[in-house]
Symmetry: C2
Subunit: 284 residues, 2 copies
């Protein structure tokens, strides 16, 4: 397979089994920590049955009173991404103004809800009117806009944040980041966990407004959530209650069957997925 | 006067008296904190005598055993910029690899020397062979290069930092920042106090490699030193000894007479100044 046209990622060789975050049931085990029937979440593979020689990133699921699929999303890697990025990187204070891009996605929707729980004003951007409605009506964002319908992102941000942005949760990069920078307030914080708008470009877009990092004394910090999992028990402890009480909700987009996985990946990259994109391989 | 061609800064109206950081002697005062004969440094004006109605940023000079001009540089605003940026923003650890751009300038030369005192490996970039020699032979940098003579900045950085950069003290922005980002190590820190390469461009250059902020978990932080002056006494206390002992040195480029000030400003912007650019208006 040749290098993907218009992408700076390498294409995948035929025969490679992709890994990803999944929920699984142990069907057989000689590992002392896992026994037949255990439910686990963590890094598994795009296949119906996986042999895991040395589980390097696998968590036992203790609480099964909520949908198991949540362990791939709000209770898994994306949830931790929202938690670490928002609390640890952005140090939010009550009343601060928070902007979340890709806000209806697996990470963004929880960031917005954590921000509301922290007493912040929260605006999200997304790529369809359906997603914008979801943000405002179901996920409790104060305001939301469809970035594809805004002629001028800077004007859209000024309209939503007349006094500027304290915290930007960066999921997309490129033009959105460039529009956000001049709208940041003094001592603002930007947590970056990804730049999805850039992944399928041959060359990443240039960001021109970095002088605002100096002028506004911005802290712009990237993080990789896998290095923060010592905080996972604390995170579970914090979100489990609000999820059960319905104070935090979570939107999923579930594709049925392993054969639908490639199409689901394309849907995710092209913005067609609404909420956390999942593939259901089987039911337990 | 019309807007300066090729600059995104406004031009200065005729009749405006520019402010700047200077050392002055009080010739008359009815302010309780200042008396005739006091030496002060802080924000004064491009003129031989200034009337300062309410001194908002003026420090009395207590120690006159070192050149008074140092209070415009290593003991003044640029010195504090180096100190705050290096220690507070970059949190250096012994053995870390530090890169300083505009390294022979008012700020950069002290950053490099602080980094050596902290047990780091330090490389600087500058814009002439004279400056590069200064960095290596007088200011104690481990390595230095002339960015104007490097065809490929990325290759120059790889040559000087085969294992990558832990700390980048950012003074220039644009292409240099873009070359630095892929050479940063995991959990690297970038302190940005200015982006001088961008000030005279009509539009700032695009920076394309920001995805490395995520991939390398970089903290990229801007700061304005005027907001950190509560730490000035601690800074003086730290650097005064090494300066007197000759363990920290400082290179100045002194223009004579107020009439030489505009040319000195142009020399600074065009990279002709070597070391901290000063204008001597009179001697005390």
């Amino acid at each position: 397979m040749k290098k993907l046209e218009g992408s700076y990622f390498e294409s995948i060789q035929p025969g490679t089994v992709l890994s990803g975050f999944g929920v699984s049931k142990v069907v057989d085990s000689d590992h002392p920590d896992y026994k037949t029937g255990d439910l686990v979440w963590g890094i598994t593979f795009w296949e119906e049955y996986s042999q895991i020689a040395s589980p390097s990133f696998l968590f036992k699921i203790e609480d099964t009173s909520i949908p198991l699929s949540y362990y791939t999303g709000i209770l898994g890697m994306p949830g931790m991404t929202a938690y670490v990025g928002f609390y640890d990187i952005c140090s939010p204070k009550k009343g601060e103004r928070v902007f979340v891009s890709a806000a209806s996605g697996a990470v963004g929707q929880l960031v917005g809800q954590l921000a509301k729980l922290a007493g912040c004003y929260v605006v999200g951007s997304a790529g369809s009117s359906e997603k914008v409605a979801l943000l405002k009506n179901k996920l409790g964002f104060d305001e939301a806009f469809n970035y594809k319908e805004e002629e001028n992102l800077n004007a859209a941000l000024k309209r939503c944040f007349p006094e500027g942005i304290d915290i930007y949760f960066e999921n997309v990069g490129g033009k959105m980041l460039d529009a956000v920078l001049p709208n940041m307030r003094d001592c603002g914080r930007i947590a970056a966990c990804g730049m999805i708008s850039q992944y399928n470009l041959k060359e990443p877009e240039g960001v021109h407004n970095l002088i605002y990092v100096v002028m506004r004394q911005i802290r712009f910090e990237g993080f990789i959530v896998l290095n923060h999992f010592h905080r996972y028990p604390e995170f579970l402890n914090m979100v489990m209650g609000p999820i059960k009480d319905g104070k935090i909700t979570y939107v999923e987009d579930i594709a049925e069957g392993l054969e639908s996985a490639p199409a689901a990946l394309v849907a995710l990259s092209s913005g067609r997925s609404v909420g956390k994109q999942l593939v259901r391989v089987s039911t337990v």
